[in-house]
Subunit: 337 residues, 4 copies
Amino acid sequence: VRIVMRPTATVREIARVAATIETMGCQAHIAREDKRTTIGAAGSPQQLDRDHLLALPGVQEILDTRMPFKLAGREFHAQPTTVRVGDLSIGGDALAVFAGPCAVESEDQMLATAQAVKSGGAHALRGGAFKPRTSPYSFQGLGREGLQILDRVRRATGLPVASEITHPEDVSAMVETVDILQIGARNMQNYALLQAVGRVQTPVLLKRGMMSTLEELLMSAEYILAQGNSQVILCERGIRTFETYTRNTLDISAVPLLKQLSHLPVIVDPSHGTGRRELVEPIALAAVAAGADGLLIEVHVDPDSALSDGHQSLTPARFEALMERLRPVADVVGRTM
Amino acid sequence: VRIVMRPTATVREIARVAATIETMGCQAHIAREDKRTTIGAAGSPQQLDRDHLLALPGVQEILDTRMPFKLAGREFHAQPTTVRVGDLSIGGDALAVFAGPCAVESEDQMLATAQAVKSGGAHALRGGAFKPRTSPYSFQGLGREGLQILDRVRRATGLPVASEITHPEDVSAMVETVDILQIGARNMQNYALLQAVGRVQTPVLLKRGMMSTLEELLMSAEYILAQGNSQVILCERGIRTFETYTRNTLDISAVPLLKQLSHLPVIVDPSHGTGRRELVEPIALAAVAAGADGLLIEVHVDPDSALSDGHQSLTPARFEALMERLRPVADVVGRTM
Amino acid sequence: VRIVMRPTATVREIARVAATIETMGCQAHIAREDKRTTIGAAGSPQQLDRDHLLALPGVQEILDTRMPFKLAGREFHAQPTTVRVGDLSIGGDALAVFAGPCAVESEDQMLATAQAVKSGGAHALRGGAFKPRTSPYSFQGLGREGLQILDRVRRATGLPVASEITHPEDVSAMVETVDILQIGARNMQNYALLQAVGRVQTPVLLKRGMMSTLEELLMSAEYILAQGNSQVILCERGIRTFETYTRNTLDISAVPLLKQLSHLPVIVDPSHGTGRRELVEPIALAAVAAGADGLLIEVHVDPDSALSDGHQSLTPARFEALMERLRPVADVVGRTM
Amino acid sequence: VRIVMRPTATVREIARVAATIETMGCQAHIAREDKRTTIGAAGSPQQLDRDHLLALPGVQEILDTRMPFKLAGREFHAQPTTVRVGDLSIGGDALAVFAGPCAVESEDQMLATAQAVKSGGAHALRGGAFKPRTSPYSFQGLGREGLQILDRVRRATGLPVASEITHPEDVSAMVETVDILQIGARNMQNYALLQAVGRVQTPVLLKRGMMSTLEELLMSAEYILAQGNSQVILCERGIRTFETYTRNTLDISAVPLLKQLSHLPVIVDPSHGTGRRELVEPIALAAVAAGADGLLIEVHVDPDSALSDGHQSLTPARFEALMERLRPVADVVGRTM
């Protein structure tokens, strides 16, 4: 909690507020930022008598310091947000599982995968038409053709589709063909893109940058929310560390922390988070046990011939087995599937 | 898998082995180290006909490259190791929960905590008599007096005790008063200490260094095993990253990876791994779901007056509630409590 | 160096190439990727007789493995690239120093700063009109108005101007008003933006992402080069680590490594690289001693009232003193100023 | 700067001190730790009127917050410390260069290297008799026999010798045979070892842990100083990051920061700091330009046959060339060689 003083507040008024905060059992931290004095109250802010503080001379308002994310934070929005896509709810009691290949490769591949994951129990399909790749010479996705495939597959199967957007100009085309716009890790701080998806009402799945703090992730969500789109899903997908056995280090603590800091739904991507097929199942179970609202799982009908990320993709059979294993864990933490 | 060639092997013999490996469906990688040529076989090494390879001219033996840890690795020790401390087994079907304060502060505190965690369902007591602290001016533990307290408390409660050792000279005193010797994160590569605890038969709880790779952790275990002590328990306790909301980033993937690479039991310390009391429960649940053999939980009868780590310690009541929550998750992954 | 085999190459042909490489004093590593077999030659590739290898049956071509960046790499472009902006050359004998404020705040501020840094010896002006900020509520720059200010200031002072671009749509407006398009750390992997600046001929200053590897930086340069813009300057600006005394950890080894791997000019930003005013001078000296082609220095006429990054900005007087200190170091490493 | 209040200070007295600090142009931060209230003064602490503050009711003393390292810090020891080993001074005007192999391999090798580096201009010899290695199966050094070799070589050449100590028990043997006790990166927080070398008067070369902050490094120096040994040299040798081209990321900012925070000499190890022979020279030049008091360089008479770290060792000829290149840079920053 932070008490904002009026620009005209005197040193005496500031000192009185600080002393009052201390009397109420908190530690006071006086700071002057951009000509404005604020007094932080650390410790047990619930003990503060806010009305009394607001009545002191020189006090303008009371804010929360830990949360520079006003719209994404829990402070002014205590109830969890549920993102709705047709019949699917993300962030409610039911666990939401997105499954599908890294990249849209062909209509046959997408349709086969979609049918397989639907029958395995997935609630939504994932698949990239635009693939941001480290090398300009790697496969960059089928582009607009890939979007058409996704559109036909979602109509054929009834599964809602999440797909990555990489260019602000693509928003209008993508909102026609997909149900959820995914912002990839590399673009988490591409503010032009965040603002563009903030100006539509299509749900956005925002992945944490591989080098980003949780505060930065929430500030990026704030960019979208501040434009008027309140349908944001956060996704932990692993961060970059010195460990080399795994592609990334999945930050499992991000799940309860994000749930505590924010009202937005939080899902986990164990496929990118580990980069290894055999780790997807234990980490998926862990994510649900830690309180995740859903999962993003790479599934490919033929992982060994996948154009990207085959080594971390499950076969449909293995995905189905994973879903069976998830059910009792979901049950324990009070989730339905 | 790596094929080691004899020092006398000719280029032609080496090329023939490489070509044979390729024919068997793997990729061959020829390397010359210290005058010795070895040929790695990557891909699907289970497809290799090892007898056929061993019969080729110039071949000396077949080794596994991924595992420079011969004793800690699964390769020559496929069955999981169960570490036994009196009636307690670590690494078997039953989950093992160690609980207690960061530091031994007094006999009253230890006895009260021990009774509380025992009644809450803990299987062993933790508590440090020697505390390695970043500052020489911080509380360094009660030392030998702390050991005496631990000894009396384990006799009074029947709980086995784990406590940190920081000096090779202390081995003989500690094996008399505690049941499990803990090597802390800062000492994971203190080889003099590892060798000293390797020369006794008391079980060792080896914590991962805060910026150590899993391979380094297993190599440190190897130091202990190589001295003859086979009773080693590995512990994931979080690594150092750029994220600042948490004290460390708990590497949940370490659990299934260590279980896959090694036969040693793997436990998780969600208290140090997160540094925040409110994250201990969700991360403990996640660790068990990911396959951990046990947990190390900081519990203090009065966390706010703890001499160290109070902010990440649970009260006995909260510990008991955590144990209740753990039970069904343990059940789902086939563990008893 | 990597020998690419024809798709039709037989196992016998592959083995013969591998054996030949070994005979020439290198280690051979056979790999099969996407149905294509390649044989890496590690060790002392300069000892390879390339003509002889190319003449062997089954060999298609010889590539360099360490450099997936064909255009940015030294392999096919041994001579260093000199980027020219009017009279200024970056990457030649003369050191190039960019100086100016983090953000364009007003015409008065920019003009005063520009005159001060010009008189202090700077070769180019820096200043952001579009500021990508972690929070949507922070000052985002003056935008198009800022560009107009930069345009008038460069006309008034004759200094070329570098300014950050954040949106692909801004390319056409920016190439009219600034001389060098800067890509910030957060956008290093914003491929839509990289491709957009690749389609013009204006020089690009590409900053390393705060948690990007050098290989990723060079691959991002490759995105620009592959579109036809060959005027790319690389910039080391510090990476994110666990150290907290500094804002970032400046990776000084990046300078000689990038110069060795690539023909592109390499400059260093000690202001962002340290985040502390008092470290700018020693790190600037170190960067030049390590072989940097130039520096990017934050200078503000009144750092304490700067709208952003004031704590890491030099005053004009301190900048002038730095330039004096740089001169003899530049001289020692054979650079002119 | 931090003002410590008496335990009996009233809230009114605390508020008055805070208000006074604000009046003097700083920000006040009130904190209560262990029942004691302290008030931090951030911003421009040199503006504080310390006498006036000390005279206020309730004030006990004034401390510096940024420096929990009382003995290693500059605060109470403004003059730089010069460590003396015979005729060699480390931390004065003259640059001190330590050169030699990673490990003592034989008397011939050590003697040849010592003579070569002495003739190349080195001031001291380095070489490990005890080698802490990640694997228990790697070469661990010649041990006591290596110490005897070092003793004979220093007598033969007159060069002082630095060598790593790994076990508290070895102190008495080592102080007889070497001139400087080196604490390696893995043992930076091995407090039993730090205290043991703190109890003798032999100079200690303390390397930064690969996972340690600068504050932790200084706190480890504090452990040695607190035991009575004031002859400590700090060494930056690279930290662990995600970058893989280099073995470690050398933190060049550590040099000016450590010099600013502490009075102890600071040297740089570009051999371990980069892990690549071709980077040693540019990084050595950078370190001296940034203000280092000396360098630690790996030199081997036959790097390709070295038992460890050959790839990062210079030949004597290359070392001599480096010394020639260093001279003018040292001159520019006011150092003699």
